[in-house]
Amino acid sequence: MSTTIERRRDDVGSPPPPPPSGALRRTSDWARRAPLLPALLFTILVTQLPFVVTLVVSFMDWNAYYPDERGFTGFSNYASVLTDVNMREAILTTVVLTVVVVLVSLLLGMGIALLLDRQFRGRGVVRTLMITPFLVVPVAAALLWKHALFNPEYGLLNGTLTAIWRLFGSEDAPQPDWITAAPLVSVEVALIWQWTPFMMLILLAGLQSRPLDVIEAARIDGASTWQVFRYMTFPHLRRYLELGALLGSIYIVQNFDAVFTITSGGLGTANLPYVIYQTFYQAHDYGRASAAGVVVVIGTIVIATLALRTVSTLFQEENAR
């Protein structure tokens, strides 16, 4: 009996054997768990504990300027977060910003991935060019867009307009103040520029994992390019589109750098992370900042659950192979 157990335990790699009974099992289980524990404990300590504290503080009346008036107030912080006009605008801004950036960069990314999936001269170079925006440090990218591109007096956008108008002999080129005229769109454009490469990379990987022989067979059977895309490429890409959308959402819901740098949260661009940062950093109202944090967490959990489900489907497919 014991020999069979020993043999099974040596059977590394296969799913864990049905547990034998007693102390032997416990020792073996802990030997398996040991390498996992440092990482697990570290993660729980650094990421879960603060959330528990946030949850507790969100039910407290706690302002750094009035330390004596600290106490529990029930749901009043949540009431003030959800009835506050600024906060509600911030929730709306966050949703609009995330949806617009994710959808547009996903569509652009898909178009560019389809172009890059073809054979043409210099394909590798174009792929490298496309990745570049994603490799610019986010703060640096935001500074670049704000000062070097959007600036109404000497930004590249207005400079190009002047150059084009001069080409046709006109001196009165339109010189819009981009950030003032369309603050949220300006932030979105800068973010779309950075996130399109991300979507493109994931979708290109998806395209290149297509079973080419099946598509070739369909072509020979007379399927048009559109039919191949609609009935073969697109269904295959769906998982990758979902993955890109959900991972992108998680990063963009949390975006702070672009809003902070380009508009400093002004002109109706303050999203939730920025407002929480402001409440906490400037107003020192810890209770309200925590309640706002919990609201963001609940919002993220909704997205994250969807994201986890998608990743888990991909994951199971990979393991099934």
């Binding site: 040596d10 590394v12 790699g13 547990p19 398996r32 390498p35 996992l36 990482a39 570290f42 650094v46 990421t47 603060p50 959330f51 503080v57 560019i112 043409f120 210099g122 394909r123 174009v126 792929r127 490298t128 060019l129 990745i131 570049t132 925006p133 994603f134 490799l135 610019v136 440090v137 703060v139 640096a140 500074l143 000062h147 070097a148 591109l149 007096e153 000497y154 590249l156 002047t162 490469p197 990379l201 990987a205 020979i220 993955l243 991972l247 998680i250 949390q254 750098d257 902070f260 992370p273 810890y286 900042a289 963001v296 967490v297 993220t300 994250a304 986890l308 990743v311 888990s312 991909l314």
Partner: protein, 297 residues
């Protein structure tokens, strides 16, 4: 006449052996190639503009229309590095490097054993553990900011680079566990079994058999962790001050305190982005796998 024109395309779609070949439209293909080039150039223009402007004088940088062919100068870089301005970006660059490199090393030390316990000798319910790690990455940082700030204040860790190192480690650990697991899963179990039958010890097995297969994975994981730590702004801005500030924080402060000098801003943005650009270009193929947490191969 019509029969001649009909023959052309048919002949073109067949190989000399008469085997049918996928129809090709060379002209539209070339056009799409040109389109891809145009889009690629369009996306890279802001970066090229940043680099070009950083080498112009402040006067040439602020012209309208832009002066593309103005003489090149290192003026912007000189003022960024403090010649004549008294600015000193070196401490913040050194802080960023310390925080990114040290946190990446700790991440690897924690993630590799964890990934081993999730793939090669899996614990029971290992998928649940894997998804727990991932779920921590999805919770917004901003929601845990306050307790971390208060803890740092009480323990005197505010404006201390080690606090950032610990937080960046926690931030990147889930990604690293996922990536390392997907790499370790590729280690053929038969080799491990053979190694253990030959009497090789666990450490020897790891070094001789596992390491050569997973070293590329470790490289990819390090790249992603390094980039994310180097880029981080929110935590660094909230939890550091004059001593431990990182390069992104220096960038944001630099503009408000110095007023706007376009060439200097572009030089600063380029210098701070350079490590990520170099690392990213060097390991393009690893990027996809890292960004999708190993879900996309």
């Amino acid at each position: 006449m019509s029969s001649v024109t009909d023959v052309g395309p048919v002949a073109a779609t067949r190989t000399p052996e008469g085997e049918p070949r996928a129809p090709r439209k060379p002209r539209s293909g070339a056009l799409l190639g040109v389109l891809a080039w145009l889009i690629g150039i369009l996306f890279v223009v802001p970066v090229l503009w940043m680099v070009l402007t950083s080498f112009h004088s402040e006067e040439d940088a602020a012209t309208n229309p832009p002066s593309l062919f103005a003489p090149l100068t290192l003026e912007g870089y000189r003022s960024f590095f403090g010649i004549g301005t008294g600015a000193n970006p070196w401490p913040s660059l050194a802080n960023s490097l310390t925080a990114s490199v040290v946190s990446t090393v700790i991440v690897l030390l924690l993630a590799i054993p964890a990934a081993y316990a999730l793939s090669i000798r899996p614990v029971r319910k290992w998928t649940d553990v894997l998804f727990f790690f991932l779920s921590t990455r999805m919770l917004p940082v901003v929601a845990g900011l306050l307790p971390i700030y208060l803890f740092a204040q009480v323990s005197g860790l505010l404006d201390n680079i080690w606090l950032l190192i610990v937080l960046y480690t926690a931030m990147n650990l889930p990604i690293a566990v996922w990536m390392m697991r997907s790499f370790l899963a590729e280690v053929p179990v038969e080799i491990l079994e053979a190694a253990s039958m030959d009497g090789a010890g666990l450490l020897l097995t790891l070094r001789r058999v596992v390491a050569p297969i997973v070293l590329p994975g470790i490289a990819a994981t390090s790249l992603i962790c390094f980039i994310f730590s180097w880029n981080e702004l929110l935590l660094a801005r909230t939890l550091t001050g004059t001593v431990a500030q990182t390069a992104p924080v220096y960038l944001t402060g630099f503009v408000t305190s110095q007023g706007l000098f376009l060439a200097q801003v572009c030089a600063a943005a380029f210098v701070v982005s350079l490590p990520v650009l170099i690392a990213g270009f060097a390991a393009q193929d690893k990027l996809v796998q890292g960004l999708s947490l190993g879900a996309v191969k």
